[in-house]
């Protein structure tokens, strides 16, 4: 009897051990490597929380989070792709997707996300050769920031906001005429990767295009481009403080600039640093009515060499869903989620400034998704430098720029 009991106990223990072992083997562990750029202490813990929540809900998945910095992140990603050590999921800037997709380094996710396209904004940079390679995550656009105190001092109604170029020019000139160290407009110096972003809103608002619709011609030089550059140069030459973006923002916050073009990071700074400035945000004016702005953003892509594409896509859809994008934007005070449902949340619509960004996003363009963008960007900036800072003739400079873009894109 005694032996029977011992035997029964041993049998139960053995069965339990077998069950527990088989349970472990059933949970096939999938490890996803994710490289991302949000390292700011304000948002880092939120990203980590999203990851932890996902791991809890999906015990078979482990996410290896790696932080990248904007100073060398691009180099690291290029090296990883070319050495075959790319992560499963990688965050890419909007103008990088074409570079990697054209080199066959990203997984084609068209079939898996086609049903999601209607619910999200900003797909165009993620599409190359009619295939989708990256999922839009957090986007960003630029709006006009106006110092209302300077508007009052300039003799205008404090509620005045310009809706077209003539009004913008008038506003900037009047603020500039206050004199002293006050300037009407904040114009970017020849700062790489920044200058063109300030000109393109004017260019696009005038219906300018860099490449023709059929993608076969460079059409950067046009009467529209001429008109836009003439307008921008008028602001630059007659009523602007010319400096780097960060110093322009400092000057705006110090009440030395009436009008600047900036992004949601400036809103965040004003809020976090409790800067006592009476300002308003509004849509960037166009020739006759509110025009267009420059938009970019963060995209999530799956490496072509990933062995866990299905899991990676599932995770991307989780990170970009309404709740996580809202959580992200609320924590980081970001204004432009890619998820349309999230963008209509009261968090954005109840905040007059965030609402401006949401509206502006619907009237924004992103740069063309071409692998040679880095060269084209360089040509546009050189053209702007020539015209704005060396007083080169506008038409001739645009023509020269167009010729260079044609050579880069079409080797003609």
């Amino acid at each position: 009897m005694k032996y029977n009991r011992i035997f029964a106990v041993l049998l139960i223990a053995a069965v339990a051990a077998i069950i527990s072992c088989s349970g472990k083997t059933k949970q096939v562990a999938v490890t996803l490597d994710w490289w991302q750029f949000w390292t700011d202490p304000a948002i880092g813990p939120t990203i980590q929380k999203m990851v932890n929540d996902y791991e809890t809900a999906n015990p078979n998945v482990k996410i290896n989070l790696t932080d990248l910095t904007w100073s060398d992140g691009h180099e690291k990603i290029v090296v990883a792709f070319s050495s075959g050590t790319a992560p499963d999921i990688v965050e890419l800037g909007s103008d990088w997707v074409a570079e990697f997709s054209s080199a066959n380094q990203l997984a084609d996710i068209t079939g898996d996300v086609i049903s999601d396209t209607a619910g999200f904004l900003g797909w165009s940079p993620g599409i190359y050769d009619n295939k989708i390679y990256a999922f839009p995550w957090i986007l960003g656009t630029r709006v006009l920031f106006i110092n209302r105190e300077l508007v009052r001092k300039a003799g205008l109604s404090e509620n005045f906001v310009p809706i077209n170029w003539a009004q913008l020019r008038e506003l900037c000139f009047k603020i500039d005429s206050i004199g002293g160290d006050v300037h009407g407009f904040g114009s970017n110096a020849a700062e790489k990767h920044r200058l063109y972003k300030k000109f393109l809103p004017f260019f696009w608002a005038a219906n300018g295009r860099i490449i023709s619709r059929d993608g076969k011609l460079a059409v950067f030089a046009s009467d529209k481009a001429y008109r836009a550059l003439k307008m921008y140069k008028a602001l630059n030459d007659s009523c602007s403080l010319i400096d780097t973006q960060s110093r322009l923002e400092d000057a705006f916050l110090a009440g030395k600039i009436g009008v600047i073009i900036s992004g949601d990071w400036l809103l965040k700074r004003i809020r976090n640093e409790k800067i006592p400035i009476d300002f308003v945000t509004t849509l960037i004016p166009g020739p006759n009515f509110p025009g267009k702005s420059f938009a970019g953003g963060e995209f999530l892509a799956i490496s072509a060499g990933s062995k866990n594409k299905e899991e990676a896509l599932k995770f991307i859809k989780y990170i970009t869903d309404k709740n996580n994008q809202l959580l992200f934007c609320k924590t980081n005070y970001s204004a432009n989620p890619s998820n349309r449902e999230a963008a209509s949340d009261p968090f954005f619509t109840d905040d007059i400034n965030l609402e401006t960004f949401v509206k502006q996003m619907n009237m924004s363009e992103m740069v063309p998704a071409i692998p040679q963008w880095v060269y084209v960007e360089d040509i546009i900036e050189s053209t702007l430098e020539e015209v704005l800072f060396n007083d080169a003739p506008i038409a001739e400079s645009l023509y020269k720029g167009n010729k260079k873009i044609t050579k880069i894109l079409f080797d003609k």
Binding site: S82, E99, A189, E191, K192, D243
Partner: protein, 287 residues
Amino acid sequence: MKPRQIAGYLFASPWVITFLIFWLFPLLFSFYLGFTDYRLLKPTYSWVGLDNFAALLSDQAFLQSLKNTFVFVIGTIPLTTMISLILALLIDKNFPGRTIFRSGYFMPSITSMVVIALIFTNLYSRDGYIYLLAKMVGLSPPENGFLLSNKTALLSVMAMDVWMSVGYYMLLFLAGLKSIPGELYETADVAGAGPIRKFVSITLPLLKPVALFIIVINTIKSFQVFVEVLVMTRGNYDTSTAVYFIYESGLSRFEFGYASAAAYILFLIIAIFSLAQFGLLRQRVTP
């Protein structure tokens, strides 16, 4: 092989292996790459012969960066050499607080270039002290600051480089001055030579080996100017230099073939300059 020899090779091996892997191989491989169209992310690459070199010689951006580099070299080396020699002569005298001056002049040489470049970026800006000082003394500096103007940006970077380098070269000159035997000056005194005569006939000829060393290493260093440009202007406002061009081509656009070809053109220029300097100055140094 004798055990003693084996031990010698073993002791030398850490350096030799490191040299082969991290210096010699990249050096030879990059030379090879200069003749290819190699780009990161491009799955294959092919031999293009001298195409990269030909393209570089008609690339306006490269030619402009070479021109800027020459301006930098020609503008900074004579000034740095002269100022450091003058400082060395002054510091060589006995006067109270000499050590403080010596340390003070040398301090920039041991400070990070990035830190100095950031400080000078602020000093040169529209509300920086150098800018305000220039205005105060009646000069008319560029409206948006020294670094935001084609006319003054490169000159400003050069001025900072001179300020930063003189302390180090001053110490080298000082060492050279200390090695001149005092008896020569005593003899000159007896012969009735004045201070200028002593400087021209004793100090200067005997400092020539040090001057040669300073000019050659400063030339090589100046041809490779990069960090200042990266931190202060990112190559804007006509300040792009040859190494900055190589950095942009190689690490921003990942055109390793093109960047390698540019690096070898620069290597050739530095080699020619250094050999010419050795040739010219050695004749005068050798008694």
